[in-house]
């Protein structure tokens, strides 16, 4: 009853609006509406014309993420322009990969190196087999020991041991007469091949291999 009273009161008050709205012509669907609809269904074309609802969080975070990304880019751009470029003359020289790669079961030895402190037996092996500076002792999987001469990637005659050269000592008392050509200029082409960093094996590694070599040598002698 109350609802009806409410309705009648309201509808009296807004009778002009209600009659105006009721007088509006009824809009009908297009003639081909059903044909289009059934075509979409038969073709399984279920893509919506109206966009999907975008969630509030997505709407908030999309611009925030874009802003954060822009700030990051600007930060790095400003930072890079600060002139923090590394001086190439102060950079650590890169090692020659072809020479510094060492197999797991090998040790590189310099015949003259006193710091390796090999036992007498292993020293003998080295002294018998090499005239060039560097040899490689390889322990095969069958426990056979072989010694390989390591080919340096540059001419040994032109090589200069910088440590010895700076300290005034020549390696094995040998004077390298060609070393002056390393700094030759003018029209002559330089034969400079680059620097070689000689890596010393760690003491633990040498000790373990030394013990292994000695035991193997003893076995071979027996």
């Amino acid at each position: 009853m109350e609802v009806n009273n409410y309705k009648s009161k309201q509808e009296e008050k807004f009778s002009d609006v209600i009659s105006a709205l009721k007088s509006l012509p009824k809009v009908k669907a297009e003639d081909n509406f059903e044909f289009n609809l059934m075509t979409r269904i038969n073709n399984k074309n279920f893509e919506m014309h109206t966009p999907k609802k975008v969630f509030f969080i997505k709407r908030i975070f999309a611009p925030a993420a874009a802003l954060a990304f822009s700030v990051l880019i600007v930060f790095f751009l400003v930072n890079d322009s600060g002139g923090n470029i590394e001086n190439p003359f102060l950079m650590e020289p890169t090692m020659r990969q072809d020479f510094s790669a060492v197999k797991s079961d090998t040790i590189e030895l310099r015949s003259s190196s006193e710091n390796l402190a090999l036992t007498e037996q292993s020293q003998n092996i080295v002294s018998q087999t090499t005239n060039s500076g560097v040899v490689r002792v390889v322990v095969q999987p069958s426990d056979a020991v072989t010694i390989e001469t390591v080919q340096l990637p540059f001419s040994d005659e032109n090589a200069v041991d910088l440590d010895s050269f700076v300290s005034g000592e020549s390696e094995n008392g040998r004077v390298n007469l060609n070393r002056g050509s390393l700094v030759s200029g003018g029209n002559s082409a330089s034969s400079f091949d680059g620097f070689l960093i000689s890596e010393r094996p760690s003491k633990e590694c040498v000790e373990s291999h030394k013990a292994r070599l000695d035991s193997l040598k003893k076995l071979q002698e027996k």
Partner: protein, 197 residues
């Protein structure tokens, strides 16, 4: 079979479509609701092509999600809810895209705004034309806040009861009544020049 189906109520038809996937039942429901839905959506969004797209999408959603309809509800309120939600999404999308948004807050100058936009307000001879009059009513309707517009259209254009409008919009009956009242008040102010004639 089709004559039998034609005699069924909306709720019986959707049950037939749900249980046996009878496409004829679906087609019958589309035939029954395409015009009232188009009218409702057109009055709500004010664009013929967009309203056609929205009603098409509504029917596609009905086809795809027929099982989400539960038999205790009226079919008409269910399908109007889908159409109303799609129409509201479209309006929100448009609002975001607008560079110069219309002032949705109603004030006394609104009726003057419509006059400025449409010079025919000053021409009573032309305003007497029914087509022009309905165009002006539609224009005024588009000035009403969407939350009020929806319920006013459902009540005064589509002739739904307060209970049905509450079901469609998911609002309480009290809120529906107050929104209809506010919507009608806004519309009355906007249309006062038409009534003077």
């Amino acid at each position: 079979m089709s004559t039998k189906l034609a005699e069924l109520t909306d709720e019986e038809l959707i049950k037939e479509f749900q249980d046996n996937n009878t496409l004829e039942a679906y087609e019958l429901l589309v035939k029954r609701f395409k015009d009232p839905l188009t009218n409702f959506v057109y009055r709500f969004v004010g664009d013929r092509d967009v309203s056609t797209d929205i009603v098409q999408d509504t029917m596609i959603k009905f086809y795809l999600k027929k099982d989400s309809y539960q038999s205790f509800a009226k079919f008409s309120t269910w399908i109007y809810t889908i159409a109303g939600n799609l129409a509201k999404n479209e309006l929100k999308r448009r609002k975001r895209r607008k560079i110069y948004s219309l002032d949705d807050n109603f004030d006394d100058d609104e009726s003057k705004k419509i006059q400025v936009e449409d010079k025919s307000f000053f021409e009573p001879d032309r305003a007497a034309d029914s087509n022009l009059k309905s165009g002006l009513i539609q224009k005024a309707l588009m000035k009403v806040k969407p939350v009020y517009r929806e319920v006013v259209i459902l009540r005064d254009v589509e002739d739904f009861s307060y209970d049905e409008i509450a079901d469609i919009t998911g609002l309480s009956i009290g809120t529906v009544k107050s929104r209809i009242n506010r919507g009608r008040t806004q519309l009355q102010k906007l249309l006062k020049y038409i009534y003077k004639e």
